[in-house]
Amino acid sequence: MLSQQLFNALALGCVYAVFALGFTLVFGVLGVVNLSHGAVFMVGAYCALIAVNQLGLGLPAALLLAFACAGALGLCIDVLVLRPLRARNAPHLIPMIATIGVGIVLSSLAQGLFGAANQRFDADALPGQSLSFMGLDMTALELGIIASSFGLMALLLLALQRTQLGRALRAIAESPRAAALLGIPVERLFRMTSFVASGLGGLAGTLIGLYSNALYPLMGQPILHKGIAVIILGGMGDIRGAMLAGLFLGFAEVLSVAYIGSTMRDAVAFGLLFLVLLLRPKGLFGSTQERKV
């Protein structure tokens, strides 16, 4: 029974981690808390839904489409909203406020286009097989979610640590100005980061859409709030921290439902968030920094 709970927690935690990856990537590189990430997540899920239900595509193609559409959306947000603010050198909070607006516009448009009611993937499009292993019931879907999440995390970590591109991104995270002086095409990498991060958001949306099989225009909001908790838990802008914290939140939620009661499930994330902010404001895995005058 416990091992079954742990397995479910792993699947849930993986989705949180993928969502938080994109969220924290944007903060790390662009220095922006992108509060439209939840809405981008929702748009990705709906793209996959259209791909499966109306275009009759398979799941891999739907995931790819969700990545591409959400990524393109993220690119548009970057070019139309974030870049002008960067050019003006607006203080940190300003782009955050702007992305709140973007998120509201997107979810409200989705509500107008798709209606507020829950929508589902066609049942025959989902993999129905399940597997019993050492007393664990694992659906193909859950296994797929876990495998693809870990694959994405590994890919991203490798890209950031081992490639020239990753080194350039880390340089930008340190200081965009110094990076530009070193000849790194900062603006181009900002756009690329926005694309990839939003694409990851769209993928996470599709994964959770498949997992819970309920899509609705405001589905991005609860996950956005949890994503905030996750990236603060992991340390803002810290990729590895976000992964660990995402998995951690999945386990914390599932275990609290099992042992404390379902009413407390949503409070877990925020309780953790509060504690971390008060005790270790730079995240569980971060190091502290003094403010310089």
Binding site: A90, I100, G101, V102, Q221, L273, L278
Partner: protein, 290 residues
């Protein structure tokens, strides 16, 4: 005066909710003018609304006492949570207060015996009259107007410009921030208490993220350079959906669009005395030259 009666019969709700929104915009103005982006005002409004509604439905308390409690309860909560939270700065503060709002919402939903849970509270007596609202609004505006000229208001300004420098000038930064935060919570609570006795019903959904964003939109739209800014912002955000009635489903999209466009093109809001003065100077100069 018949047209006035007719007008009031149709639009009294809009006018009175305008009052609520001005109070809310002023409550976030207070923290913004002290350089903090705190997103907990919707939650404070909710705490005030629930406290007041419970008092008047269960205990038949006099309305003045109800309003006072509706202000005191969120102020107390703000005082308690502010002390540790306000050490955070910038985006961390914004996110902590956002999370606090969620905690309040979840707490309200889960304490069904007291708050009616997700179903909300029904049958709140309609005690808010137009003059109550006007009085509350005038009182708040007068207080804030006085505050701007006072030592405390100047301290807010100094902290907003540069926290470290303000501290070096001898301002007790954390205490000053806590005062701004608590006072903002009290004003939001007042708005909640008045609104609860206007609408007959309150539910946890009214005090969530959307409301928080709406409050922020009002302040950002009007600008926070002076008191006219948030007031004008609240006026526009309240009346716009009435004007765009045909867009009912997309009402929120309009709010979001306003937020984006203002941030992009009018970063200091609609009411920007500096720009106005500059424009005036240019105009008069041209006249003199011509």
């Amino acid at each position: 005066m018949e047209w006035l009666d007719n007008f009031w019969a149709v639009y009294s709700n809009v006018v009175l909710s305008l009052g609520t929104n001005v109070l809310l915009a002023l409550s976030i103005y207070l923290t913004l003018s002290c350089g903090m982006l705190a997103m907990a005002n919707a939650a404070f409004m909710g705490i005030g609304a629930y406290t007041a509604a419970l008092l008047s439905t269960h205990f038949d308390a006099p309305f003045a006492l109800v309003l006072a409690a509706g202000m005191a309860a969120p102020a107390l909560v703000a005082l308690l949570m502010g002390a540790p939270t306000l050490r955070l700065s910038g985006v961390y503060l914004a996110m902590a207060t956002l999370a606090f709002g969620e905690v309040v919402r979840i707490a309200v939903i889960n304490s069904e015996d007291l708050t009616g849970g997700a179903l909300g509270l029904n049958g709140i007596p309609q005690l808010t009259q137009w003059w109550t609202m006007l009085l509350a609004l005038a009182g708040t505006l007068a207080l804030l107007w006085r505050l701007r000229r006072a030592r405390l208001g100047r301290a807010f300004e100094a902290i907003k410009e540069d926290e470290t420098a303000a501290g070096l000038m001898g301002i007790n930064v954390s205490a000053t921030k806590l005062i701004a935060f608590t006072l903002g919570a009290a004003i939001a609570g007042l708005a909640g208490a008045l609104n609860a006795h206007l609408t007959f019903f309150i539910g946890p959904g009214e005090f969530g993220f959307d409301r928080g964003v709406e409050i922020l939109t009002m302040a950002v739209l009007g600008g926070i350079q002076n008191l006219l800014g948030p007031t004008l912002g609240a006026l526009i955000v309240t009346l716009l959906p009435e004007a765009l009635r045909s867009l009912r489903d997309y009402r929120l999209a309009v709010n979001g669009m306003i937020l984006v466009l203002i941030v992009l093109f009018l970063p200091r809001g609609l009411v920007d005395p500096q720009a106005l003065r500059a424009a005036w100077a240019r105009l008069t100069q041209r006249k003199r030259a011509g």
